[in-house]
Symmetry: C2
Subunit: 97 residues, 2 copies
């Protein structure tokens, strides 16, 4: 899996409005907010099935109604198309910014 | 909900072998490990039901087969019996250290 070029990365980030590039440029992050704790956990379960299917797993933290997600491709040492696909899948599962 | 006394805290930590006091003394933390990502998520779901029932929610991070948990009682500004009860509930749900 090849790292995204700078151009591919910038195009993806322009589409993924709620996601931001990490300071080191190796990951994208997004904060999801939900109506409450059960909704946040339900999101994590749905996203977990997507992650397992893609064999591409997030680093994520839950505090009450909030889920902070970080996506990177460790094997490649940075961002790949797999991270963009997972970000898009998570966006489809909802939550607000 | 009253903060634990130092003695109550030390007695609880002696029982909760896998948990450690945070540097600021306001929380207990534990790393749980599982056989894989689905097992880690299954643990989180089971623990989430305990947390919601107790209305006492963890701060936790999942990376693949690992779940790092932090328990504190924000309203009290530190550790209370609610944190100890939640730690014990999570221990009963399994995982290795």
């Amino acid at each position: 899996m090849a790292l995204l070029t700078n151009r591919e990365r910038d195009e993806a980030l322009a589409r993924l409005e709620a996601w931001v590039l990490s300071d080191d440029g190796k990951a994208v992050t997004r904060r999801f907010r939900f109506d409450g704790f059960p909704a946040a956990i339900a999101f994590m379960v749905r996203a977990a099935f997507e992650a397992e299917k893609a064999d591409h797993h997030p680093e994520w933290t839950n505090v009450y109604n909030r889920v902070d997600v970080r996506l990177t491709t460790h094997d490649a040492g940075g961002l790949t198309a797999r991270d963009i696909a997972m970000a898009e899948a998570m966006d489809r599962l909802g939550g607000t910014g």
